[in-house]
């Protein structure tokens, strides 16, 4: 009984602590497992342009946050913006994630560090000389266990004309993160996914042999996340054998996801599904 009372005490303390985080607004917030900063690529706001800002997560070793499709467990971070009139926030530009095993499950997310970039469109006329952008961020940070965290962040930037704008100290991080944000698949690529009984054979024909590739589904119920992906290189590209999801009850027409190639470059792909009845027949004389 005494132990339970102590736990209640600890819980109350934690709630109080969380309330304190809620009240305090800053460009940076720290929890035991994640440090989160609201940062900007440029050091000033330019009327009529797009400003790239981002939530920068620095994670305690062993802890992770989630991609837009979290995989078998977890949930992606969410941002609610408080912006001046006329400002519009776009969608989060999710960098390619990693496969993160979690007991018998497979999650998709980020470890160590992640920058979630959001483009903000700025109105062409601005009255004030300084603009304050506000964001409420909610995220789930997990290791063996998961902790939901949230914070309010502010970022104030001066308004300047085109000529006098320059990069912020974070500019470099935006550039390197941009390299990990999936691009549209090149037009000359040929994509298809052969549907077999229990598998999809995703074929990415790039025109040259590809040594390695990892597929991350954008739809939650298409493939079995934890099943190993069997990659085979061939002269024209790469094939990945993916186990169908147990939840996949109806045939699908497109396999949608992000593919990360050996170079580290990520692409968004949508591979039309082709039924493979007896592909071996072609070999008959």
């Amino acid at each position: 009984m005494r132990r339970r009372l102590n736990w209640n005490f600890v819980l109350t303390g934690l709630i109080a602590l969380q309330a304190t985080t809620l009240i305090c607004r800053a460009a940076s917030a720290s929890s035991p497992h994640a440090k989160v900063d609201l940062i900007s690529e440029a050091n000033a706001i330019q009327p009529g342009r797009i400003l790239r800002v981002g939530l920068h997560f620095t994670l305690e070793k062993g802890w992770h946050i989630y991609w837009i499709n979290p995989g078998d467990s977890g949930e992606p971070p969410r941002i609610q913006w408080q912006l001046p009139a006329g400002f519009r926030a776009g969608a989060i530009q999710w960098p390619a994630p990693r496969r993160i095993p979690d007991h018998s499950l497979m999650d998709y997310g980020y470890e160590e560090e992640a920058l979630l970039i959001v483009p903000i469109s700025i109105p062409s006329r601005l009255q004030s000389h300084e603009i304050k952008l506000g964001a409420t961020a909610k995220w789930l940070v997990c290791r063996d266990s998961c902790i939901p965290e949230q914070t309010n962040l502010d970022l104030s930037l001066p308004v300047r004309d085109a000529g006098s704008q320059s990069g912020s100290p974070w500019h470099r991080l935006f550039v390197t993160t941009q390299e990990h944000i999936p691009k549209p698949a090149p037009k000359q690529w040929k994509l298809r996914a052969l549907a077999e009984k229990d598998r999809f054979i995703l074929e990415v024909r790039t025109g040259k042999p590809e040594r390695q590739a990892v597929f991350f589904p954008l739809e939650p119920d298409q493939i079995e996340n934890a099943a190993p992906q069997e990659v085979s290189s061939y002269s024209g590209g790469v094939r990945i054998s993916l186990r169908k999801s147990d939840q996949l009850m109806q045939p699908i027409s497109t396999l949608r996801g992000v593919i990360v190639m050996n170079s580290g470059q990520a692409y968004v792909i949508a591979a039309p599904i082709a039924q493979s009845n007896s592909p071996k027949r072609r070999n008959r004389p």
Binding site: D72, S73, E75, D144, C146, I147, P148, K197, A227, Q247
Partner: protein, 202 residues
């Protein structure tokens, strides 16, 4: 040569069948025997003739906490047990893992949270969890009076830890029970479960 190929296909299909999920909606739910927090032994076959709900549970998981701190899970337990449904909360956390509890600790929790399941089954070896392929907490299963599995998946359609998401959520368990009790087929028989991973022994 052709025969060899045929054999290979057969062997491969058999292998895939083994790899496939533990239970399948529309087929008989596997029988089990498990002990509850009061030392009473339950087996699924005893409850033929009744609907049975299995709810995978980990009190420290934020997704589970969403449903208990809002009172949502308790409300579901009360509603459905009062309508004759057998509701088993199942704990498959291994000793030393998050969510592992002794029978006494769990009984105190049930009392404190005003939870109202038929019983809480303790599954520290993960035997029951693996039998059903329970992936997350919560992960919900519904079995009909004939012993057929009629629902396998998430508790609702809002895979978040946010308490505010409960009021607008579509509850798949209630939907499956309502439909089945009205003699209809279950319109959403399987969904992707969401939550924390079940903390099985490594």
């Amino acid at each position: 040569m052709k025969r060899l190929r045929f054999l290979a296909v057969l062997v491969l299909s058999a292998l895939f069948a083994v790899c496939a999920q533990a239970v399948q909606v529309g087929t008989p739910a596997p029988d089990f025997t498990a002990t509850d927090t009061h030392g009473q032994v339950h087996s699924l076959s005893e409850y033929k003739g009744k609907f049975v709900v299995l709810e995978w549970h980990n009190r420290e998981c934020p997704f589970t906490r969403k449903h208990y701190e809002s009172g949502n899970m308790q409300k579901l337990q009360r509603e459905w047990t009062s309508r004759g449904v057998i509701w088993f909360t199942v704990i498959s956390s291994a000793p030393g893992q998050q969510g592992y509890v002794t029978a006494d600790e769990e009984n105190a929790y049930v009392e404190r949270m005003k939870a109202d399941p038929t019983a809480v089954l303790l599954d520290p070896t993960g035997k029951l969890g693996h039998l059903y392929g329970a992936k997350t907490t919560p992960h919900m299963f519904v079995i009909n009076p004939e012993g057929i599995l009629i629902y396998d998946g998430a508790i609702d359609n809002k895979p978040t830890t946010d308490l505010d998401d409960i009021p607008g959520a579509r509850n798949y368990v209630s939907e499956a029970l309502e439909e089945a009790m009205a003699g209809k087929s279950v319109s959403v028989p399987t969904t992707r479960p969401y939550g924390c991973s079940v903390k099985y022994a490594h």
